[in-house]
């Protein structure tokens, strides 16, 4: 099962992002993914080394272990929260900010129920520490609902195609679909199947999700776009 999701969060003081690998560029072959993962790993270990050298020169300020006040840029607003450095972005959203669309299911980067978009990249909220999300642009599912507006085309497509049962995985799937469609506005059926493997559903709603994402792509192209 390949995933195009970036599971390696970087904090505000991290080195610049490596160039996009094959896997991120929507070249969904397994070979491409494996090569991409290899390349990514190399870049990361270099990055880790650099960080260590920098750390030796000038130790970064220590945060914690107690709670600290941080400000997070979420859905275009600055939101303050008192969090411990060990708290994930997901738990911060849910427990401190009452933003509960993202769900906690596996809590270790497998199922995608906590999917958010950070600086334009689809990520698992459970694998990002809240303090590492400071200074980054965080989008949660709540951002897709504007008061007084029709439901976002992706949300409406999920409803039209009954792409949900219990609905607990659905917020993650909607955000993963948004990230996917942002990268790939003209997906084929095969693209959709390969592009959403980073999320899991237990009730078995995948048939509806496949159709929903294709419908949403169409709708976003033909004027439903207000994202």
């Amino acid at each position: 099962m390949s995933s195009t999701k970036d599971r390696t969060p970087r904090g505000p003081s991290s080195p610049p992002e490596p160039p996009e690998t094959e896997s991120v560029k929507s070249n969904f072959s397994r070979r491409g993914f494996l090569q991409g993962a290899g390349a990514g790993a190399t870049v990361l270990s270099t990055a880790a080394l650099l960080t260590e050298q920098e750390a030796a020169a000038a130790p970064p300020p220590v945060t914690g272990p107690g709670a600290v006040e941080i400000s997070l840029n979420i859905n275009g607003s600055e939101m303050k929260a008192n969090v411990e450095p060990r708290e994930t972005l997901l738990d911060t959203l849910r427990n401190h900010l009452d933003l509960t669309a993202a769900k906690r299911v596996c809590d270790r980067g497998t199922c995608g129920a906590c999917t958010v978009i950070i600086d334009g990249k689809v990520m698992y909220g459970c694998t990002v520490l809240a303090i590492d999300a400071v200074g980054r642009k965080i989008e949660t599912l709540e951002s897709l609902s504007a008061p007084g507006h029709k439901p976002h085309p992706i949300i409406q497509a999920f409803v039209n195609n009954d792409a949900q049962q219990c609905g607990y995985c659905t917020p993650g799937f909607v955000m993963a679909s948004k990230g996917f469609l942002d990268r790939n506005a003209n997906p084929t059926y095969e693209d959709v199947k390969k592009g959403l493997t980073g999320n899991l559903c237990r009730c078995g709603t995948y048939m509806g999700i496949r159709k929903a994402v294709l419908e949403a792509a169409q709708e976003l192209k033909t004027g439903g776009n207000r994202a």
Binding site: A101, I155, Y168, K193, R202, T205, Y206, G208, I209
Partner: protein, 719 residues
């Protein structure tokens, strides 16, 4: 006596239409608040300390250090010194604290000493379970040995289906506040009307002191009926913490270890037939485990569906293991029985070099008589949808390439009679229609179906019907298990809506110069039947109520339901699978799964199909990848997480084709539950398709690469 009967199939305005679920936008936009999403004022967090050993006695427990952790508001010892713990994951202590991290820190400071005791956590090899085996005793019908001696072909095989877990995405748990006499309880449950009573009993408080509210729940599949120990503990923690609300949901490892599983079944089966394919004799020795409580399965249920075999000998042995206990799992026992039965029968058909379709048709007399025409029709439909005639071949005649393709079939049956249910419908003077019912929507679209039934009855748009459920103050309705909800709530909501409408007819009939029985309600209008010119709008009619609303009850009583004709029970389903197997790597790939299912009158085909797709996908998970893996040395579940407890992704399921058997002969039976029957026949279909593709039986599910390769190398076993 009011006329509650369903309008004729061709006259229905709402029921039978493909309509969107009413809470779809709320769920897909993240606005729907599941119990685990609730953050009431003053919320604190609960956590459980669970047993790290498969079997032990607690020697001592010390909570003093844990008490000192900042933020801790309460610590409770659930099982203290001297208690024997029977599985890893069993509850030892609970903590409440002002943050989740503080609660978890406190758990780590609880000092427990254990005396380790011997354990058993594996059951596939019956010769190694010793005194843990509890045979039910042999049951014999006819003369099986004589049957085998006269058979032209006898097939013997071993088959296995391991334990799988529910793996609900919203784990088991609740938010609960015990303040003064009042307990506010927000569980994740399939049982809104009765779970409050369950909690009250455990806490020894009067039932009315517990108020249950649950608007959304994230999956149960049969595992979420009782209040559970964690519900009781969370309530006690709340009380001990000064009445602050406590949120306590199981972490993923605990969820997969103790919050329910489906029992395993393994079996040795011998079955014989005449040269023309007629089955004459069946013999099965099966065993399995559902944890400490065994895995009691009625051996007499073998063989499944094809029950009328003249000579049978059956025996089932329950094995007690040091593992968390089984809970009902979508169609309890049926998927296992179907897998064992149809694997063994297909092996016999292959031995006879018969097309299994011909073989099962030849034996149709062994099936319950009223199901025979349904199965025959469903087989024909399934063959068409999977192109059986073109794609089926003799077992193993799948060419010489690396990828081998095969087809297989399996059958299912279920009851699905609607449960007891009460419902209250109110017509307000402003024209709004409210429906109150102590039921729950566990993802099956109950909310939407209730609205559709009431809309069909009153002529009001279904999106305007306000369905209020998930609250224990509403009229009592059954738990959502066993495919009983759609039938139950449809009858009670239909009756209460008819009763309320009749009252409205009495009020407005004189204004239309008619008698109440001459009126009908359609398209937001009340009008005289056959004379549409004499009509008034729904809003105008309701205005005539002045300040007085109409409130009427309706009730379904399961045991009386059949004679009323609104609902019934007993359905049949056929599933067929098309797989390709890579004989070099052992990977089984789904090409297509075909689901043909009867469920009587279909209220909403769109959401009904979702149920069937979902069951098909769950079936693929269990057939190809899903398995609770235990280790006897460590005495633990090795994959109590979602990395290694494998569920299918959106790219692992091939294509699924659902054909709901919608036509007048089925419709006239009334509503029958659907959730379980679609979750039965597919395992056998996929296993049989794999055997058809590679020429040998892979005895045990899931059909992982290592099992497939072992079978190809002649080493297939039950491990």
């Amino acid at each position: 006596m009011p006329d509650y009967s369903w309008p004729p199939m061709d006259k229905r305005q709402v029921m039978g239409k493909r309509l969107n679920r009413l809470d779809g936008v709320a769920k897909a936009s993240g606005k729907a608040k599941y119990s685990s999403d609730l953050n009431p004022n003053g919320l604190i967090y609960g956590a459980l300390l669970t047993c790290p050993h498969a079997h032990c006695t607690i020697k001592s427990i010390d909570i003093n250090e844990a008490k000192a952790v900042p933020g801790v508001t309460s610590i409770r010892v659930i099982n203290g010194a001297g208690k024997e713990m029977q599985w890893r994951g069993a509850e030892i202590a609970s903590v409440a604290a002002t943050s989740e991290s503080a609660a978890n820190d406190a758990l780590r400071k609880i000092k427990v000493e254990y005396d380790i005791l011997p354990h058993l956590v594996k059951e596939a090899d019956l010769s190694k379970v010793g005194p843990r085996a509890r045979p039910s005793g042999e049951q014999v019908t006819g003369d099986p040995d004589k049957g085998f001696s006269e058979a032209a072909a006898v097939s013997e095989g071993i088959y296995g289906i391991p334990v799988i877990t529910h793996c609900c995405l919203e784990s088991h748990g609740q938010v609960v506040r015990w303040s003064g006499d009042q307990i506010d309880y927000w569980p994740s449950t399939q049982n809104v009307s009765a779970i409050g009573g369950d909690l009250a009993k455990a806490l020894q408080v009067p039932v009315p002191n517990v108020s249950v509210d649950m608007q959304y729940m994230g999956g149960g599949f049969g595992s979420k009926f009782p209040a559970d120990l964690w519900g009781v503990e969370a309530a006690q923690l709340s009380k001990e913490s000064g009445g602050k609300p406590v949120k306590m949901f199981l972490d993923r490892a605990t969820e997969l270890s103790i919050a329910g599983n489906r029992p395993s079944v393994f079996g040795k089966v011998k079955v014989g037939a005449k040269a023309d394919g007629t089955i004459v004799s069946w013999q099965s020795e099966t065993w399995g485990s559902g944890g400490m409580t065994g895995g009691g399965l009625n051996a007499d249920l073998f063989p499944y569906v094809f029950r009328g075999i003249p000579n049978r000998k059956v025996n089932h042995t329950a094995v007690s293991l040091n593992l968390g206990s089984a809970r009902a799992w979508r169609a309890p026992n049926h998927p296992q029985q179907a897998y064992i039965t149809f694997s063994a029968l297909e092996d016999l058909a292959a031995k006879l070099r018969m097309d299994p379709i011909d073989f099962f048709r030849k034996n149709m007399d062994a099936v319950r008589k009223d199901f025979q025409p349904t199965y025959q029709r469903q087989i024909a439909k399934g063959m068409e949808l999977i192109d059986w005639k073109k794609n089926w071949h003799q077992r193993g005649d799948s060419g010489s390439g690396q990828w081998r393709r095969g087809l297989g079939i399996g059958f299912g049956t279920w009851g699905g009679l609607g449960h007891d249910s009460k419902c209250r419908t109110t017509i307000n003077p402003d024209g709004t229609v409210e429906v109150e019912i102590g039921s729950q929507d566990i993802g099956t679209a109950s909310r939407t179906m209730i609205a559709m039934v009431v809309a069909e009855t009153t002529g009001v748009d279904y999106t305007k019907v306000r369905v209020k459920l998930g609250d224990s103050h509403y009229p009592t309705s059954g738990a959502s298990g066993g495919s009983t909800t759609t039938g139950g709530v449809s009858v009670s909501s239909r009756k209460s809506a008819v009763n309320a409408l009749d009252k409205l007819f009495e009020r407005v009939a004189p204004l239309l110069n008619a008698t109440p029985d001459q009126l009908e309600a359609r398209d937001n209008t009340i009008r005289v039947k056959g004379d549409p010119s004499r009509s008034m709008s729904w809003a105008a009619a309701c205005q005539k109520l002045g300040i007085e609303k109409i409130t009427e009850m309706g009730e379904n009583v399961g045991r009386n339901a059949a004679k009323e004709g609104l609902i019934t029970q007993g359905v049949a389903g056929v599933q067929m699978a098309d797989v390709s197997v890579d004989i070099e790597t052992g990977i089984v790939k789904m090409n297509k799964l075909v689901i043909v299912q009867d469920c009587g009158l279909v209220v909403n085909p769109k959401t009904a199909e979702s149920q069937a797709y979902g069951a098909g996908i769950m079936t693929i998970c269990a057939a190809l990848m899903e398995e609770r893996i235990t280790d006897q040395t460590l005495g633990r579940v090795l994959n109590a997480d979602m990395e290694f407890y494998k569920l299918a992704s959106i790219n692992d399921i091939g294509e699924i084709v659902v054909h709901m058997d919608i036509h007048p002969d089925m419709d006239k039976r009334g509503i029958i539950g659907l959730g379980e029957p679609v979750a039965i026949g597919g395992l056998a279909a996929i296993g049989n398709a794999t055997a058809n593709a590679i020429g040998v039986r892979v005895p045990s599910l899931p059909l992982t690469p290592n099992r497939v390769l072992a079978a190809l190398n002649g080493k297939g076993g039950l491990a």
